[in-house]
Amino acid sequence: MILSSLCVAYAGLLALALAMDRHHEQVFARRPSARTSRLLGWAGWLGLTLSLPPTVTAWGWAIGIPAWLGLLTVAAAALVLLLPHAPRAALRLGPAALLCAPFPALLG
């Protein structure tokens, strides 16, 4: 459950980053159109929202919320370190994480 949440959070944060000109350029070497940017933004917020329920079902609200914030920190740290050093890897990790997310049992 925890790793599912982490995967979805990473994908969501990646979409939010790609919605911004600076990071879109880092990855794709061009700016996003206004429409792409808006769609990516919505996808990002959706991802962040969807990453919350697994932690709350696993731990309840009292521990689930702090755990969720902690997972966001870890996911964002990974993204921030990957973007300048390996932008393509940062991009590929997004879909990979989304694919893994429904199978928490596989993730341990």
């Binding site: 939010l16 980053a17 521990i63 920190t73 964002a76 740290a77 300048p84």
Partner: protein, 539 residues
């Protein structure tokens, strides 16, 4: 007006951060390690590494207690778990007062054989834990005041930092290590601060709450007429009513195995039984109390749930319900519980640890940025202060070396001392701590004697080597090295070694960057900024 406000906040941020920053760095670093203080202590007691729990551990421990302390008024048996391989027992002699903790006798038992173990004397992870809020070698009250004031400065720095930054969302993912030193240090500082901001706010505010009755005692003094003990008693900080006196008739203790089986079934998702407390063992009114290994409540620890059995018949007894907490107290306990993270399982514990590392990086990079910015303001990019430098800047830089690079080195030296000092040495725990402070003092003295860049590189390399070689030291001095712990799936010990190795590699990475002058970034002439200016960047 608006810019004036932001500038004054920037000023407040840099000075509240700098003046107490060195202390805060030490508090963050040692406090972060303290999340794993039990694991650290186990690593520092190799005599426990051979203890392997099995299904009969609890019964064996109870049996051993009836030989060790047949006449005690109470036994407490903490069973091994994910965080400790051995059984920790304590007992209260029949003639000791119920609340006299000093009268408790303690021992450590091998989980597989029940034999009494003699682990080496060490303060272990507890030293680092205590240091993070009580420092060392000074009256406890004064030290807590100092840390309390530093914590307040931290809160001021966080709030003023948020106001100064203002583009939190837009720069959320921004980190440009390839840019000039001023820019990349700023990015790093901001990233460590913003990405773990909820943690930083929580840990700082709850840190103040933990000091609440010391820092702001007036409400309690007013309501309880100066009698703080009455407040503590009523607010439940000291619960545990005195246990019943032992009955005159002797009676054998019921077998514990069926009770444990029932409790383990009930607490399957809570790590099973964590501890047993036997009151009046061997007497007709004996009771056995079981608590789960993991708590599902942040604010009250495991106190919310326990099972109570008659110690002679083994029949379940009713547990008096815990008093409901008033809302304010529940809120306070929740926040303080988050700070202490006693409730946390391994996954949560790692999240807290990572956030703590982010806090340490935030403070450290902030300290470094203070110097880097002043160096760049002196007209040209003189990252290492090779030209003439004002005394204050030089002092701050050398303190940065001695603390940001020197403290990790001292922590590593503490672990080395644990294995290299003879196990039977008198005052051993004190000597380990002595080595820690000697290593730190050496780092602080070394820094001003070297040019800035050399000082950084040398201390970072020393810390890197000491940390990265800890698994080798473990291999040479203890049975619980990686060659044994990894195949056995013993993550408690393997986790320490692997984390030490990772820390060593990270320090080595930093040292290499310093050595190759990579932190200077591109030699872009930095703009001359007026003192205290808010750093703006072209988008």
């Amino acid at each position: 007006m608006k810019d004036g406000f932001r500038q004054s906040m920037a000023w407040l941020h840099s000075w509240s951060g700098l003046l107490l920053g060195w202390l805060l760095f030490a508090v963050f670093l040692t406090g972060t390690i303290a999340y794993f203080r039990q694991e650290v202590t186990v690593w520092m007691q190799p005599e426990l590494h051979g203890s392997i729990p099995d299904a009969g551990t609890a019964e064996r421990a109870v049996e051993r207690m009836s030989q060790l302390a047949p006449d005690a008024a109470q036994w407490t048996i903490a069973l091994p778990g994910e965080r400790s391989p051995a059984v920790s027992v304590s007992w209260r002699p029949a003639d000791a007062k119920p609340n006299d903790r000093a009268a408790l006798k303690r021992a450590t038992l091998d989980a597989g054989t029940g034999a009494v173990l003699e682990p080496r004397e060490t303060a272990g992870g507890n030293f680092l834990y205590r240091f993070h809020f009580e420092l060392y070698g000074m009256p406890r009250e004064i030290a807590r005041w100092i840390v309390g004031i530093a914590t307040m400065a931290m809160l001021v720095a966080i709030v003023s930092g948020i106001i100064t930054h203002r583009r939190i969302f837009k720069d959320l993912f921004t980190f440009r290590p390839e840019k000039a030193a001023l820019r990349s240090w700023m990015d790093g500082h901001v990233a460590a601060a913003v990405l773990a901001l909820p943690f930083h706010l929580m840990i700082t505010y709850s840190g103040l709450l933990l000091f609440m009755t010391m820092l702001m005692p007036w409400a309690v003094d007013l309501a309880y007429d100066g009698n703080r003990q009455a407040y503590f008693a009523e607010s439940g900080f000291r619960r545990a009513p005195p246990p019943p006196r032992p009955a005159p008739q002797a009676a054998p203790l019921t077998p514990v195995a069926p009770l444990l089986a029932e409790a383990d079934r009930r607490w399957a998702d809570r790590g099973g039984v964590g501890s047993l407390t036997v009151t009046n063992p061997g007497r007709a009114n004996a009771t056995i109390e079981l608590r789960p290994a993991e708590s599902d409540s942040i604010g009250r620890g495991a106190a919310t749930e326990r099972l109570l059995f008659d110690g002679v018949t083994g029949r379940a007894q009713e547990v008096p319900a815990a008093d409901p907490q008033p809302a304010a107290m529940a809120t306070g306990n929740y926040l303080m519980g988050l700070h202490l993270a006693r409730f946390a399982g391994p996954g949560m514990r790692w999240l807290f640890f990572v956030s703590g590392v982010a806090g340490t990086v935030m403070v450290g990079s902030g300290l470094i940025f203070w110097v880097v910015k002043r160096r760049s303001q002196r007209g040209r990019a003189d990252t290492w202060g090779n030209g003439p430098e004002p005394f204050g800047h030089r002092l701050a830089d050398r303190l940065n070396i001695g603390v940001v690079a020197g403290l990790p080195l001292a922590v590593a030296a503490y672990f080395w001392a644990n294995r290299l000092l003879p196990a039977g040495l008198g005052e051993r725990a004190g000597w380990e701590i002595e080595v820690f402070f000697l290593a730190w003092a050496a780092a602080l003295l070394h820094a001003p004697l070297r040019p800035s860049r050399r000082g950084w590189a040398e201390q970072l390399w020393a810390g890197a080597a000491l940390f990265a070689l800890l698994p080798v030291l473990n291999l040479a001095t203890a049975p619980g090295h990686l060659g044994n712990s990894l195949p056995a799936g013993n993550w408690l010990l393997a986790g320490f070694d692997l984390t030490a190795l990772a820390v060593g590699l990270l320090l080595g990475f930093a040292a290499r960057k310093v050595g190759r002058n990579a932190f200077a970034g591109k030699t872009v002439p930095a703009p001359v900024l007026p003192a205290g200016a808010v750093v703006e960047e072209p988008t």
